[in-house]
Every structure is written in structure tokens, then in C-alpha cells.
Amino acid sequence: MKTPFFTGAAAIIKKDLRAEFRARELVSVMGLFALLSVLVFSFALELDREAREEAVSGVLWVTLIFASMLGLNRGMALECDQGGLDAMLAAPVSRSAIYLGKLLGNFIFTAIVGMVMLPLMTVLYGKNLLDAWVIGTTVIGVFGFATIGTLLATMTVQTRAREALLPIAMLPIVLPFLLTAVRATTGLLNGALDGEWRGSLGMLAGITVIYFVICLLLYRYVVEE
């Protein structure tokens, strides 16, 4: 008999959260990376005040996407090396439930990093990012990254090159998310008219739903045997 879908997914999330709470292996690495990235961007671009305000949403999203990939790579490698993936596959849960569980786990960790970054960047870049819509956009965008990322990380972790392949496979596919998210955030921060950023935000939400459904259906093909 199969465990009901949501019970299975919830159990996986609980497992990931508990492991993270005990070892603090992912969020700490992702958070530190995000912090460094924000600082490095600020030095590398030699930003004056005006340019910094222009670049803020780009820095936010590039950092988030790389933090998300870092977490995915690390999380999946741990899962694979410690036999977690095999155990989940042996358990009587549907593959889609495993996908949903892993997806939400990565989403929660990346979203935490995002929520830490917003106030930090507000202070460092002098632009108020603590707006309800900006937070909402961040949450949706991070969820979008996680939909694709979870599927692709499960694939790449089983390959020879492992960590190296995830960015190559993932970056072009998440570009639609990145584009719409950056547009929506820039529009919001520069006080553009409602119509301009709402369109991008709507598109971001739309493609997130589309990719979520596709990945949910395809996940069982990347965890065979």
C-alpha cells in the first residue's frame, strides 16, 4: 500500500528540515555565499550610489540563483552519498511526492537566504527592498528556481561530472524566471507604473506553474532503478 501523496511529501520535508536543523549544513553555506556575493558584486562593479541602485535587482537575483544551485548540489550529493535517495525510492511513496518534498525543502532553505538578503541589501545598497511585493516576487522566483533545480539536480548528481553540470543544465532553463523576476523587481524598485511590473510578475507566476507541472510529471523518469 502506498503512503498518501501529501503524507509522503511532508515526511520528506520534515526529514530535510530536521537534518538541516541538526547539522546546519546548507543554509549556513548558502547564506555565507550570498553575503560574500553581495559584497563581491559591490566591489567588482565599483558602484557609485546611482549605479548601485540600478544594479540591485540584478545582484539580488544572480546571487539567489547561485545560492539555490549551491544548496541543490550539496543537498543532492548528501542525499545520494548517504543513501537517502535510494531509501526514498525504496519507500512506498510516489515519485512525485519525493519531488514535491525535495522541492519544498530547497525552496524553504533558499527562501530563508532570500529573506536574510533583502534587509541586508536594503542596508548595503540603500534601496528599500522590504516591500510586500518585492518579498512576494522573491518567494515566487525562488520557488521557480527550485522547481527546475530539483529535477535537474537529481539528474546531474547521477552523472560523472556532478557539481559541474548543474549550472550548465540549469542556467539556460531558468533564464525565463530570471528575466521576469529581475524585470518585476526593477520595476517595483524604480516605482514604475503598476502595469509594467505586474505583467512581468504575472509571467513569472505563469511559467512557474507551467514548469512545476511539467517537472512533477517528469520526475519519475530521472529516479529510476
Binding site: 547521477q158 550548465i168 543544465a169 532553463i173
Partner: protein, 250 residues
């Protein structure tokens, strides 16, 4: 020791299989059609009043995108059927589709860029449609890289089928982005052009006369012929690899 060449010859039968007649006919049609469509586009069609000769590149630019569409579409279909039936032939179709489609979409980008230089006064601009077309190319280039990184054959086929299905979303985005993001400057020739479009021209009967055969050729004959040849090549590569393993194992 003397048995090695015998085994090899029987294994290489695929390589010696002659081209099927349909493929030969298709190849001839494609080559003649390509010459014909070039004639129609470069010589027979009238010169555009506003843009001059550069407008003629359109007869390759737009059809090459649709050729890529067909090829990537075959990758999608090949991936879906492979996942359902597990016949390796469908995976070969998918791979051939990616390579042919990537070549076509590069032609599409290059010709567009050449056209944009005099008309938009730049080789490249971050217009939504140009950006999405570039993303599409990168996605399929990533397909080839990812494919090269997976050793296990069954796993490679299954994973790449999944990736081929995911990647097709970028093709759809490129196709429909003009309707979604209205601020593009990319003109639409068939149907209503966006408000900001620059460099459009009317689809007069002369344009349609030269465009239609070219479109038919690029949409159907060119991708099918090239993909068929590529599949046969893939079979040879596989036969060669089997032979290598055989030679090494003895």
C-alpha cells in the same frame, strides 16, 4: 585470434546498409528545393522599396526558425515516445533533432543579426525576442554538454528525453513572446506587427510567392532529410563503439 575480423564484419552490417530510396528522393528534393528557394528569394522576388536588397535575407531568416521549430519538435516527440516505449531509436531522433535544430537556430540568429545591422543600426539588441532566441540556443547547447556527461546509456537516454521536453518550453516562449511582451521591436510579417516594431514590411503577393516555397522547404524537407542522415550516422557511431568494445575485450 583470427576470429576477430569475422565478428567485426558481421557487426558492421549497419554501416553497409544502403540509403533507402525514400531518403535519396528526399535528399534530391531538398537540394533542388534549396537552390530553387534561393533563386526565388534572391532573384525572382522584387527588391523591397524601403529596405533594399537586405530584405531578401528574410526568406532564409524566418524559415530557418521554423526549421529549428520542426527539429526541436521532433526532439520533444522523440523524448516523449522514448519515455513511454523505451526504444532507443526515438532517442536517436531526439539527438538528431537537437543538432539540426541548433544549426538552424544559429542560422536564424546570424541572418537576423546581419539584417539588423543596417535596419536597426546594431548587430544585437536585448530585445525580448532576440533574448529568448538566444536562450533557446543556449538551452540546446547545454543539452549536448549534459548528454556528453552521462556514461550509462539507458540513464543518458532517459535523462536527455526529460531535458529535451523541458527545453522545448524555450522554443514556445520564443514563438509567442511577441504576443506576451508587447515592447519588442522585432517585426511580425504575417499578422499584426507590435506597436514598436521597426523594419517591418508588407507581405505583398511577391513576398508570399518567394516565402511560401522556402518556408515549406525549411519547415519539412530540410529538417527531415538532415535528421534522417544524422540518425544513420548515429547508428554507425554506435556500431563503431560496439566494435571498439569488441576489439578491446578480446
Amino acid at each position: 585470434m583470427w576470429e576477430k575480423p569475422k565478428l567485426a564484419a558481421s557487426d558492421l552490417q549497419i554501416e553497409e546498409s544502403p540509403q533507402p530510396r525514400t531518403l535519396r528522393i528526399l535528399t534530391v528534393i531538398t537540394v533542388l528545393g534549396f537552390a530553387g528557394s534561393l533563386y526565388l528569394g534572391l532573384a525572382a522576388a522584387g527588391t523591397d522599396i524601403l529596405q533594399g536588397e537586405i530584405q531578401r535575407i528574410f526568406y532564409i531568416h524566418m524559415p530557418s526558425f521554423f526549421g529549428a521549430f520542426t527539429a526541436f519538435g521532433l526532439t520533444l516527440i522523440g523524448g516523449l515516445i522514448y519515455l513511454a516505449r523505451r526504444r532507443e531509436h526515438w532517442d536517436r531522433i531526439a539527438l538528431a533533432g537537437v543538432e539540426v535544430g541548433l544549426a538552424f537556430s544559429l542560422i536564424n540568429l546570424l541572418t537576423g543579426s546581419i539584417w539588423a545591422r543596417p535596419i536597426w543600426n546594431t548587430w544585437w539588441t536585448w530585445d525580448p525576442r532576440l533574448t529568448s532566441a538566444a536562450i533557446m540556443c543556449l538551452t540546446y547547447a547545454a543539452y549536448l554538454m549534459l548528454r556528453a556527461g552521462i556514461d550509462d546509456l539507458d540513464r543518458r537516454r532517459a535523462f536527455m528525453s526529460v531535458y529535451g521536453i523541458l527545453a522545448f518550453v524555450t522554443v514556445l516562449i520564443t514563438l509567442f513572446i511577441i504576443r506576451i511582451v508587447p515592447e519588442t521591436i522585432h517585426p511580425v510579417i504575417v499578422g499584426a506587427s507590435p506597436q514598436n516594431a521597426q523594419g517591418g514590411f508588407e507581405a505583398t503577393s511577391g513576398v508570399v510567392m518567394a516565402l511560401f516555397p522556402s518556408l515549406l522547404l525549411w519547415l519539412i524537407f530540410m529538417p527531415l532529410t538532415l535528421i534522417w542522415h544524422r540518425i544513420r550516422l548515429e547508428k554507425r557511431i554506435e556500431a563503431l563503439n560496439r566494435l571498439k568494445t569488441l576489439a578491446l575485450s578480446e
